[in-house]
């Protein structure tokens, strides 16, 4: 699908192409996601709503975001009770919501599983999401390249992770570690923040105090990145390069301006929520994706974690989200 986006909404939207542009049968889509407690997650919810607005034939039922799996299960159950046509579920914890996903599928409601994957394909019709491991790998590879280019033999590479208790953080960190290891490097000081700018500032301040010299720093999330950058400025440090994560508009602007330590960010775009709604509409109307030869919508769609640098930033500006 192409990315023709009306910028006014501030959201990255998916267009419909070919016969799919025609309004079809009315589709009610149920949407459930974790609490929109940081920019990326907020952008997911916002994108989903904005995308639904685009279609005259879609009614969106979005529930309150919650980080309590128990509560999210109840919300999905409520949507099932409501007999929505298609469910779009971004679970707080994929494994924990597997059963309710399966319940929906059993009740004949196709489920589009976004990002955090369910435990079994029986619980979803289609999964669309990013690849956290590869995100880490791409960040690691980029940093390794830069280090080699600068001829730094034993670089100190720092990491500011997201919420440590989430599987996605562990996957990102693992990918990062593995990619660095391939070049013979390892992760030095590491802290974990809470995806908020305040925690980013706090953890990074401490990290910088503990490490008098670093050569590179990967920050998992551009939301907390604002705080991470503030901490770096507070400490008057600039001897290293920083790579961001997820791809916020703010970070892309900085990469473009090239006036700070941020040199790149690894995408994990919330545009996947827009795509999920578009897919849900097609599922509800029993249509396929126009440009594909398949009659059916694929079962798994993985978005790609591109590395955005000064050279290609213009190309990605539209998927940058407001952090």
């Amino acid at each position: 699908t192409s990315n023709e986006t009306p910028q006014s909404t501030g959201a990255a939207l998916a267009g419909a192409s070919g016969a799919n542009t025609q309004p079809g049968k009315q589709v009610t889509i149920g949407f459930s996601a974790p609490a929109a407690d940081h920019g990326w997650m907020a952008a997911m919810t916002k994108n989903a709503r904005a995308q639904a607005e685009q279609f005259s034939d879609v009614t969106l039922k979005a529930t309150e975001g919650t980080n309590d799996v128990n509560q999210q299960i109840a919300q999905v159950e409520t949507l099932i009770n409501d007999k929505v046509d298609v469910l779009v579920v971004l679970p707080f914890d994929g494994k924990a919501l597997t059963e309710v996903g399966r319940q929906a599928m059993d009740a004949g409601i196709p489920v589009i599983n976004v990002d955090r994957i369910f435990d079994t394909p029986l619980a979803y019709r289609t999964w669309i999401g990013g690849d956290n491991y590869r995100m880490g790998v791409n960040a690691g590879n980029y940093i390794a390249e830069q280090m080699k280019a600068k001829n730094i033999a034993n670089p100190v590479i720092a990491e500011v992770a997201g919420i440590d208790a989430l599987p996605l953080t562990q996957e990102r960190s693992q990918g990062f570690k593995d990619a660095l290891a391939r070049s013979g490097f390892s992760v030095g000081p590491r802290v974990s923040a809470q995806f908020t700018s305040e925690s980013g500032e706090q953890q990074t301040s401490n990290l910088l105090q503990g490490a008098s010299r670093i050569d590179a720093l990967w920050n998992h999330d551009d939301d907390q990145g604002i705080g991470v950058l503030a901490a770096i400025e507070n400490a008057n440090r600039s001897e290293f390069i920083m790579v961001g994560g997820a791809g916020s508009k703010n970070m892309m602007d900085r990469i473009k301006a090239d006036s700070s330590v941020v040199k790149a960010t690894v995408l994990y775009s919330p545009s996947m929520a827009s795509s999920a709604i578009a897919l849900a509409r097609l599922l509800g109307q029993a249509k396929g994706i126009g440009d594909l030869a398949e009659h059916e919508i694929p079962a798994l769609i993985t978005t790609y974690s591109a590395v955005v640098t000064k050279d290609n930033v213009d190309q990605y500006m539209d998927v940058g989200f407001d952090s």
């Binding site: 969106l60 529930t63 309590d68 128990n70 109840a74 409501d82 914890d93 597997t98 059963e99 208790a165």
Partner: protein, 343 residues
């Protein structure tokens, strides 16, 4: 000479003459109290609003069952919390204990022994953590807030360590089949909730143990001089709270078919809020389990209304605050009106 009776209910009288709430008689038993009636009124109003906005789906059997199953875990935790608060304490660690129990019972090793051991494991872990809280508070003489704050951090840390921060799926189908099943058409979880409440009510209102809990919370020194072993009693009360967390962990695991260190987030706040809305004094010595149950249901119904009416999260938060205040004020007004009518 009076220990200032600062708070009487969720509505209090700052600097008022010792308030004279309704008939100041004991209403721990079945007898219905004006305040509880007000609280029930709030719940009914909320249900009416739910029905008015979504007549097609709100009061359906399916939705009621969903709401009650959602209320089950936090409801059970709130039972334990009611005991703790009546005894004059507070427990910030309930959410973390739920997480730890859920993780421990779903480790591969535990699951290999079958469902009975899983259940036992959750209960023992919960009870154990609760007793550690209790011992630190009673024999270690650490104020409840601090002791349970420490448990709040440690238990969740331990849960993360045990699970390696992975979500552990239940592979033991016997467990899931039973706890996700139904009995006489009513889901097992709802039976459990009802049972825990019933047992809690009997223990609190009909046994020596319950009577002593009120005494310890009302005036620990008087209780001690009346020959009650206040320390042991305090330790046991926290043990009960821990046990309730273990039961709640069973419920969470049954619902999510998995154990994770992120389970039970914010349970402490939700449970304390339900207990306090239900009319139990944070300063101890006074409270009812029926109030707590209604408090839990009020929050559950509120959530369901929000979900069903598709409200934005930010609006929901604002509305939640306003509704809490309105509910408490409403209770106060009905209580006052009733009092006037009576005299």
């Amino acid at each position: 000479m009076v220990a200032p009776q600062r708070e009487l209910t969720a509505q209090q009288g700052v600097g008022k003459a010792p308030p004279s709430p309704g008939e100041r008689k004991w209403s721990g038993g079945l007898s219905f109290d004006v305040r509880l009636a007000g609280l029930l009124g709030v719940l009914l109003v909320l249900c009416a609003v739910g029905y008015a906005t979504r007549p097609d789906s709100f009061l359906t059997e399916a939705n009621i069952s969903t709401m009650l199953r959602l209320a089950a875990a936090i409801g059970v935790v709130s039972v334990g919390m009611t005991f703790v608060i009546i005894s004059g304490g507070i427990d910030l660690s309930v959410g973390s204990i739920v997480a730890l129990s859920s993780v421990w019972m779903t480790t591969v090793a535990t699951q290999s022994y079958g469902p009975a051991v899983m259940v036992l494991c959750a209960l023992l872990v919960g009870l154990g953590c609760g007793l550690v809280n209790g011992l630190l508070i009673s024999y270690g003489k650490i104020v409840p807030f601090i002791a349970t704050l420490a448990m709040y951090a440690s238990a969740r840390g331990l849960a993360e360590r045990l699970s390696g921060r992975r979500t552990q799926v239940v592979t033991e189908t016997g467990f899931t089949t039973f706890f996700r099943g139904a009995f006489l058409g009513v889901p097992v979880l709802i039976w459990m909730l009802a049972l825990v409440f019933a047992i809690g009510w009997v223990v609190l209102n009909r046994t020596t143990f319950g009577r002593r809990t009120f005494a310890v919370g009302g005036n620990a020194e008087a209780a001690r001089l009346a020959g009650i072993n206040v320390k042991r009693h305090t330790a046991l009360v926290y043990g009960i709270a821990g046990l309730c967390c273990g039961i709640a962990a069973l419920m969470v695991v049954a619902r999510t078919t998995s154990g994770a260190s992120t389970n039970g987030l914010f349970y402490e706040l939700d449970a304390i809020a339900a207990v306090v809305i239900g009319g139990t004094l944070l300063s101890g010595g006074r409270g009812t389990l029926i109030g707590t149950l209604i408090g839990v249901l009020i929050f559950t119904v509120l959530n369901s209304i929000f979900t069903q009416n598709n409200l934005d999260t930010d609006i929901q938060n604002i509305a939640k605050g306003v509704i809490i205040i309105a509910a408490v004020l409403l209770q106060g007004i009905t209580a006052r009106r009733r009092r006037v009518l009576k005299t």
